[in-house]
Structures are given as structure tokens and as C-alpha cells.
């Protein structure tokens, strides 16, 4: 039972696994490859997107600086005279008001002398005529028209930048502007990359110029604060074409891109949290995972159902064969799958039916054998009960009995009698079976045997003669033994051939197969007149075996029950010599 269960589950598992994997593997392969390509596409898109954002942000920062330099240009349009230039002073004050980022303006004439200084905080100066030609900003503007200084931190906190612009002629002089870069905050805080991304600006040495969180900028040249920003810029530089990913100051993973601001040699970096940048990828991944799970569940269900449907008939077959094997031949395996399994079940059913018939036959034979010679039983079984039906046919009736048995049985002990009879019947029974003869009746020491009915034999007369001869030979051997024990017993046989009515006689539960006719009487009489060691046959036998077996005519004898004398023949037989 346990083994059967194991074998069953094993097959189920195999089917289940194969079916399940057949669905899940292509599904998973498709899902994973789709996710991977989606990821690649999104990375490319993200890189392009961030690149555009970075250029746009750089353009805005550039715009902030251009807004200042364009306005400053108006202060270096006209050449300076030796007189104070009130108009230009008013223009400078107006600029100071209009551009809140500018903290102070210094105007230098063509000779490098300071002509005007206006400030929000400090006192203004007019016509100080101090020599500023050595100032690097003045020198820088004179050589390149537009000059940007380095970012400095006022009191280690506020970032400042000096911008100097020279006019197109030396005589118009140079204007120097101190710009408080904190004011870029308005620009930088307005730049949004996606929902939560932002931009920041680093100068060439990697100091923070602008960031939406002004407190980071105000920390000044604080290495710990600047390190993550520099790291992002470095990652972007190394990433090249691919999208750069790094960690910001809060340890959040970000995707970033950069774009330069040409004038002051700054870098604008835009960054977007990866969680947002890859939002569509993550959504797609979750979707794919969900579909995969649903697909796997469905595949599992399908595989379960299919595997059950495949193993169920096999299980039924198994159960059916077991029951049939156990002898339950009326069991039928019901499989209606319309395939080989059904065919197999059908042939099992056919086999069971045949087995049932076969068994029935065996049982019947076993029953018949108790009354009939095995050959008769087989015949009955083969040809049906019909062979036993009453008919008229040529038979050989063989009678035999022991001589002197009555006297012996009266003298001997019952054990002795039974022993003699047992040996006697055992020997004769074997011979009867051998010759396919039918023992129709026996009583005491005598018996009647039929040849050629119901089992027909070839040349029944010869057959019966051989039978009689072998009987004599066997019994005579026994007789030697019996005589040695002091029992005076002999054995005689009589046989006759002729037509007789054969068939079963008796009642419901007790039938004997027997023959009725004169041939039976004749044979009985011949037996009765046969002496020990004698086989007597009638004339019909003698005619039938003429030339085939030796016959000794014994002349005419008067037979009891017959009016006239009848010719009787003796059949000689060779006694077996025993050394015993």
C-alpha cells in the first residue's frame, strides 16, 4: 500500500513539475528579459533626460550671470572725462537697486583709476582716483573683456564672486561687481528635476556655489559637506555616455548628469533620486513580478489538474489490476479518456473477462474430475455437457474383479482388506486414466470401465485390449505380493465390444456415467467366467483386433444369460518378471 502510494505520488510529481515548468520557464524568461530591456531603455532615456535637464539648468545659471553682465555693460559704454560723471553714478545706483545680487560696484577709468564705488553696506566713494590697474580683475577684464574671479566665502559663509567687464575701448574703463552668489538660490531652487530632483552648482575646485538648501552653501569650504558633491561630479565625469549613479549627502542613491557653465568655469549638476528616476522601471518590475506570480499560480493549478487527470486513469488501472490480480474478475476499469489509456483499460477488462471464463472452466473441470476421468472432464469442459448426453454408440465394456476376494475379505482384518483394495484401485486407476477410459462403476473388488465413451478413442478394440493386458500385468504383480502375504487372490478380466446406450444416470446431485446394452452384460459375463490370469473377449473383439493383437480362440462356451454357446477368445499377456 505504501509503495503504491509512493509510486503514485512520484508520477504525479513528475507530471506536475514538467507541466509547471513548461509554462513557468517561458513566462519567467519573457518577464526577466522584458524587465532587463526595459531597464536598459529607461537608463538610456534617463541619461538623455537628465542631460537635457542639466543643459537647461546650466542655461538658467548662465542666464543669471548674463542678466548681471548685460546690465553692467551699460556702465562701460562712454569714455571717462576728468570731470565727475554724475549720470554714471545714478546709473550705478539704479543698477545696484535693480540687481539685488550685486553688493558693490567699482568703476575704473581707462587709466586704471577708481572713479566710483557704490555699495549696499559700505560708504560710497566718488573720484577716489586710487590706482586699480594692478587689480587682477581689472587686468583680467582688460585682456579678455569679461572676467570672472574665483568664488570666495565672506566670513567663511556667504559665497561671493567678482565679475569684471571692460568696454570695447580702453577709454570707457572697467566695471567690477561684487556678486553675492546666495542670490542664485532663487534660480537654483526653482529648478526641479522630475518631482524631487534638484540641481546644484560647483566651481572648478569643487566648492558649492549654489544649492536649493542654502544652509549647505553657507557652510563655506567645509570639506565634509563638499565631499559628496565632488564625488557626484567625479562619477558623472567617469560615467561618460551612461547615466551616472551615486549617493548624495543624505546617502540616498541618485542619478545625475552635469553641464558646464562656460564663463566662470562652473559645473551644474542635476540629480534625481534613483527611486524616482527608476520609478517606471520599478513599476514595470512589480507588474512583471505580479504577472509572473499570477502566471505561476495559474500554471501550478493547470499542472495540478492536468497531472491529476493523467495519473488518475493510471491509478485506476493500477487499482483495477490489483483487484483482478486478487481474483475479483468481475471488476471493470472505467476509463473514458479516448486514448491509449482507455485502450489499455479495455484490454484489461477483456483480460479480466477471459480470466473469469477460464477460472470458471477450471472450477468446473475440477468438479468433473471427481466423477469422470480427467480426459472425460476435459472433454466435457471442451465440448460442453452435451457429450455426456445419452446416445447410442459403439463402446468396449471392460469388467474386472478379484478372484477369491470374498473369502479373503471374510478372513482378513479390515486393515488388510483396505490395504489390498487401496493398492488394487491405485494401480487400476492409473491405467484407466492413461487409456482415457471411463470408470463407470465399481463395487467392492469389481469394476466396469468404458472405452470409446464418452471419450472416443482410435481403434477402441485394440485400445481396450491393451488396457486389459496392462491391467492384468499390474494386478498380477500385486498378486505376487498378496500371495506372499498368504492371501489367495486372483484377477480376471472380460471385455466385449458393441453398440450400447451411454449417458448419465442418477438424480439431481448424484450422477454416474454408464452404458446400457447387451455388450455390457456380455462383458460382465465374460469377466465372471474368466479365471485368474485370464482375459476373455467376445468374437467382435477378436475380429476387430485380428492381426493386431494375439488372440487365442477358446472355443464355444456357454455364457450365463445366453441361450446358445458363444465363441470366447483369450488374450495372452506377458507377465512382468520381478526379481523380488
Amino acid at each position: 500500500m505504501t509503495r503504491r502510494r509512493l509510486r503514485f505520488s512520484g508520477l504525479f510529481q513528475k507530471y506536475f513539475l514538467v507541466l509547471f515548468l513548461a509554462v513557468v520557464i517561458p513566462l519567467a524568461t519573457n518577464g526577466v528579459s522584458e524587465a532587463w530591456f526595459g531597464y536598459r531603455d529607461q537608463r538610456t532615456t534617463l541619461d538623455q533626460l537628465l542631460g537635457v535637464e542639466a543643459r537647461s539648468a546650466a542655461a538658467k545659471i548662465q542666464g543669471f550671470l548674463d542678466g548681471i553682465t548685460n546690465q553692467l555693460g551699460s556702465l562701460v559704454q562712454l569714455p571717462w572725462t576728468e570731470e565727475p560723471d554724475e549720470q554714471r553714478r545714478i546709473e550705478a545706483l539704479r543698477l545696484l537697486r535693480q540687481l539685488p545680487a550685486i553688493v558693490s560696484l567699482t568703476l575704473v577709468d581707462g587709466a586704471g583709476r577708481e572713479r566710483l564705488y557704490v555699495s549696499r553696506i559700505g560708504l560710497n566713494r566718488t573720484e577716489s582716483r586710487a590706482n586699480r590697474s594692478e587689480n587682477e580683475a581689472v587686468a583680467g577684464a582688460r585682456s579678455s573683456r569679461l572676467w570672472y574671479g574665483e568664488v570666495r566665502y565672506y566670513r567663511d559663509s556667504e559665497p561671493y564672486l567678482t565679475i569684471a567687464i571692460a568696454g570695447n575701448r580702453p577709454s570707457v574703463g572697467v566695471v567690477l561687481a561684487e556678486v553675492n552668489l546666495k542670490l542664485i538660490w532663487d534660480v537654483i531652487s526653482a529648478i526641479k528635476v522630475g518631482e524631487t530632483g534638484h540641481a546644484f552648482v560647483l566651481d572648478a575646485p569643487g566648492r558649492l556655489v549654489a544649492h536649493p538648501d542654502i544652509s549647505l552653501v553657507l557652510r563655506g569650504a567645509d570639506e565634509a559637506t563638499l565631499a559628496p558633491f565632488r564625488a557626484i561630479r567625479e562619477v558623472i565625469r567617469r560615467a561618460g555616455e551612461d547615466v551616472a549613479t551615486s549617493w548624495d549627502g543624505q546617502g540616498e542613491a541618485v542619478a545625475a548628469a552635469a553641464s558646464p557653465v562656460a564663463g566662470p568655469d562652473w559645473t551644474v549638476v542635476v540629480e534625481q533620486p534613483l527611486s524616482e528616476a527608476y520609478g517606471p522601471i520599478y513599476a514595470a518590475l512589480w507588474r512583471t513580478a505580479g504577472l509572473l506570480l499570477a502566471g505561476a499560480a495559474l500554471a501550478g493549478l493547470l499542472a495540478y489538474v492536468l497531472a491529476s487527470r493523467m495519473t488518475e486513469p493510471i491509478r485506476r488501472l493500477e487499482e483495477g489490476t490489483e483487484r483482478i490480480g486478487a481474483g475479483q474478475f468481475d471488476h471493470r476499469i472505467h476509463i473514458a479518456t479516448g486514448d491509449e489509456l482507455q485502450r489499455l483499460a479495455d484490454s484489461f477488462n477483456t483480460m479480466a473477462a477471459e480470466l473469469a471464463i477460464s477460472q470458471e472452466r477450471q472450477e468446473r473441470i475440477a468438479k468433473l474430475k471427481r466423477f469422470l476421468a480427467p480426459q472425460v472432464a476435459e472433454l466435457v469442459d471442451r465440448k460442453g455437457d452435451g457429450v455426456l448426453e445419452g446416445r447410442r454408440t459403439e463402446v468396449v465394456a471392460v469388467f474386472c474383479d478379484l478372484r477369491g476376494f470374498t473369502a479373503f475379505s471374510a478372513r482378513a482384518t479390515p486393515d488388510e482388506v483396505m490395504s489390498v483394495l487401496s493398492e488394487y484401485y491405485e494401480a487400476l486407476g492409473r491405467i484407466i486414466t492413461k487409456y482415457a477410459a471411463t470408470l463407470t462403476s465399481f463395487s467392492g473388488d469389481g469394476m466396469m470401465v468404458l472405452v470409446n465413451a464418452p471419450v472416443p478413442v482410435e481403434d477402441p478394440a485394440v485400445h481396450a485390449v491393451d488396457l486389459a493386458m496392462e491391467m492384468q500385468q499390474c494386478v498380477q504383480e500385486l498378486v505376487v505380493g498378496w500371495r506372499a502375504r498368504g492371501h489367495r487372490i486372483g484377477f480376471g478380466v472380460g471385455l466385449a465390444i458393441g453398440l450400447a446406450t451411454v449417458g448419465p444416470i442418477g438424480y439431481e446431485s448424484r450422477f454416474d456415467y454408464t452404458a446400457i446394452g447387451t455388450v455390457v452384460n456380455l462383458a460382465a459375463r465374460l469377466c465372471a467366467s474368466a479365471a485368474d490370469r485370464e482375459i476373455l473377449a467376445d468374437v467382435a473383439i477378436a475380429e476387430a483386433v485380428n492381426g493386431k493383437r494375439a488372440m487365442i480362440p477358446l472355443g464355444m462356451r456357454s455364457i450365463k444369460g445366453y441361450d446358445e454357446e458363444l465363441p470366447v477368445y483369450g488374450i495372452p499377456f506377458e507377465e512382468r518378471r520381478h526379481t523380488a
Binding site: I90, L96, R219, G220
Partner: protein
């Protein structure tokens, strides 16, 4: 039986969460200390609440504010600050000048303080440095104190022929010395003389204006001081009555009929103080938040007042003015 057990368990769980929900600590508390009364602070409180709102906090919704007002008596500030600190708020906001900030700093070294003031917080000993304030303080400073000399310059520009100017200082202000030093240096550069008048009591204002009008001073320059700034209405009325051209730090002065103002934009500084307060409430450390300087310095001029005083505003002043009140 079983179901009843589960119901009992759920009931028990619900009951155990109830007292938690009733906890009032869910809303953080801000202690706000101001040197004046709520009325002159209205516009500043509005800016402060705006800043707080920008960082995600709204009063009476997810933050509670407890106010302490010195009603102009600056010597009450230390006791008010100590009282506030004893309430153990999440953060103390000391707005409206250095005195409030210093009082709060003296009251606690544990509770974070966000200040709003006009002077240099390093020079006044409030913080160690602007970029790394250290300790439990950070905040916002406008440039009002630094630009006192600019006020003298503008007054000189308005009245270029005048050689003497009056300066009004508050002797109790912690920044008074540095401001007067700056002003004298500026006076030397401009070639003018200063008459320094001192008061820390508004009852002396009238006498002060009266004496300025007696002097041959061209105009009156106010030093930066919250005490004066919060009394702009009264000062404007007095300036008009005594026909004194005057310049103060607060825009409230020309708006109320005074002549000119030049000083830091207090709406910006209060708004940023609100922002910083919100960030502190969100868990940031004051040491990570550098002190902010409000760079915006604004100039207001009142043309009507100029007309009444009989002075003409030169084009350079008009160009410089951020707002010209017609």
C-alpha cells in the same frame, strides 16, 4: 467560546491604544519670545508663520506656539526666557533683536534656539561662527546694524550742504558702541559732525525731537535698534510735527509718514527664522544650519514727507530707493 476570546483581545488592544491617542505630546511646542507686544509684531509673525508653513508646520494644526512678550521692557527678557525654557519647548524662537537672542541663550544651553536679529551674531557673542554656529543656537541676521553709516550717507546726500547731523542711539543696545564707531568713521569720511543723542525710553522721544529741531543739525539718523524700529509710528508722527528730516532702519517709518528708511528686510529675516524653526522641528541639528545673513537691504522714501519738509530728493536717492511712496 473562541470568538469571544478574540473579541476580548481586540477590545483589550483598543483600550490599550486609547490613552496613547490622548497624549498631547504629538504636537511639538515652540516657545516664542519677543521684546514687544503682539501688535507691532503682526507683520513679522505673519512672515514667521509663512516660513514655518514652507517647512511643513502650521500653528494649531501640527505645532503649538507659546508666546512671551516683554512689552518693550527689555530687562524683562531674561526672566521671560527662563520661564519659557522651563516649559521645555522643542525649540525657542528669539525674534526681534539681539537682546531676545542673548536672553534665550542665557536661559538654556540644551533647547535649540532660533534667533532673528539685526547685528553681527559673532561680534555679539551669540554664536562662534556664521558657517558653524556650534552650540544650541542658529538663526538669521539682517544687515541693519552694519548699514547705519549708509543712513548717514543718504541723509548727507539729501542735504549735501549740512555739516552737522543728529544721531539717535539706544544706550542699552548691545550694538550701540559698534554702530556709533561706524557712524563717526563715516562722518569723518563725509566731512560732517555728529550730535549723538541717547534714549532707551519712548517717553523721552518728544524731548529728543524738540532738541534736534533746536540744533543746527541737518537731519536725524537713527541707529539700528529694535526699540526704535517697533516705535516707527510714533517716531514718524514726531518727525512730522517737529519737521525733522529723519531716516530709520524700518520701512514702517516712511510708510507711517516719515521721510526715509534703510535697513534689512525684516519680512525676509522672520520668514527664514520660521523656515529654520521648521527644519529644527523636523530633526535637523542647529550646528548643521549656518547662520543666515539677509542680504536684502531695502530703501524706502516718502515723497509726500519730503514735500512737507521742503526737501528735494536728488535723482541718486530716487534711483537707489526700492520703494518710493508718492
Amino acid at each position: 467560546m473562541r470568538r469571544r476570546d478574540i473579541l476580548t483581545a481586540i477590545g483589550g488592544a483598543a483600550a490599550s491604544t486609547l490613552p496613547l491617542r490622548a497624549q498631547p505630546l504629538a504636537v511639538p511646542l515652540i516657545g516664542y519670545i519677543g521684546p514687544e507686544s503682539p501688535e507691532p509684531f503682526t507683520s513679522r509673525l505673519k512672515a514667521f508663520r509663512e516660513g514655518l508653513g514652507e517647512s511643513g508646520f502650521t500653528e494649531s494644526r501640527n505645532v503649538a506656539i507659546e508666546y512671551r512678550w516683554a512689552q518693550g521692557q527689555y530687562d524683562r527678557l531674561p526672566s521671560l526666557a527662563a520661564d519659557l525654557a522651563s516649559r521645555k519647548p522643542a525649540v525657542i524662537v528669539a525674534a526681534g533683536g539681539a537682546p531676545a537672542a542673548l536672553a534665550a541663550k542665557a536661559a538654556t544651553s540644551r533647547i535649540t534656539i532660533v534667533f532673528e536679529m539685526g547685528g553681527d551674531p559673532v561680534a555679539l557673542g551669540v554664536v562662534d561662527s556664521l558657517s558653524r554656529p556650534g552650540g544650541n543656537l542658529t538663526g538669521v541676521s539682517s544687515l541693519s546694524v552694519e548699514v547705519s553709516r549708509k543712513r548717514l550717507e543718504f541723509m548727507h546726500e539729501l542735504l549735501p550742504s549740512a555739516t552737522e547731523f543728529a544721531v539717535l542711539a539706544n544706550p542699552t543696545s548691545p550694538t550701540v558702541d559698534s554702530q556709533l564707531k561706524n557712524l563717526h568713521a563715516a562722518a569723518d569720511a563725509l566731512g560732517v559732525r555728529l550730535h549723538v543723542l541717547s534714549t532707551s525710553d519712548e517717553r523721552e522721544f518728544e524731548a529728543m525731537f524738540s532738541s534736534v529741531s533746536q540744533l543746527r543739525a541737518g537731519g536725524l539718523v537713527f541707529t539700528s535698534d529694535p526699540y526704535f524700529a517697533f516705535r516707527s509710528q510714533r517716531l514718524a508722527a514726531l518727525a512730522t510735527r517737529y519737521r525733522v528730516p529723519a531716516i530709520t532702519q524700518s520701512r514702517d517709518f516712511p510708510i507711517a509718514g516719515g521721510l526715509m528708511s534703510y535697513g534689512g528686510d525684516f519680512t525676509q529675516s522672520h520668514r527664514r527664522a520660521g523656515l529654520y524653526t521648521g527644519r529644527i522641528l523636523s530633526g535637523e541639528k542647529p550646528a548643521d544650519l549656518p547662520v543666515q545673513l539677509v542680504t536684502k537691504v531695502e530703501m524706502f522714501v516718502n515723497l509726500k514727507a519730503a514735500g512737507t519738509l521742503g526737501v528735494t530728493l536728488p535723482p541718486s536717492l530716487i534711483s537707489s530707493a526700492d520703494v518710493v511712496i508718492e
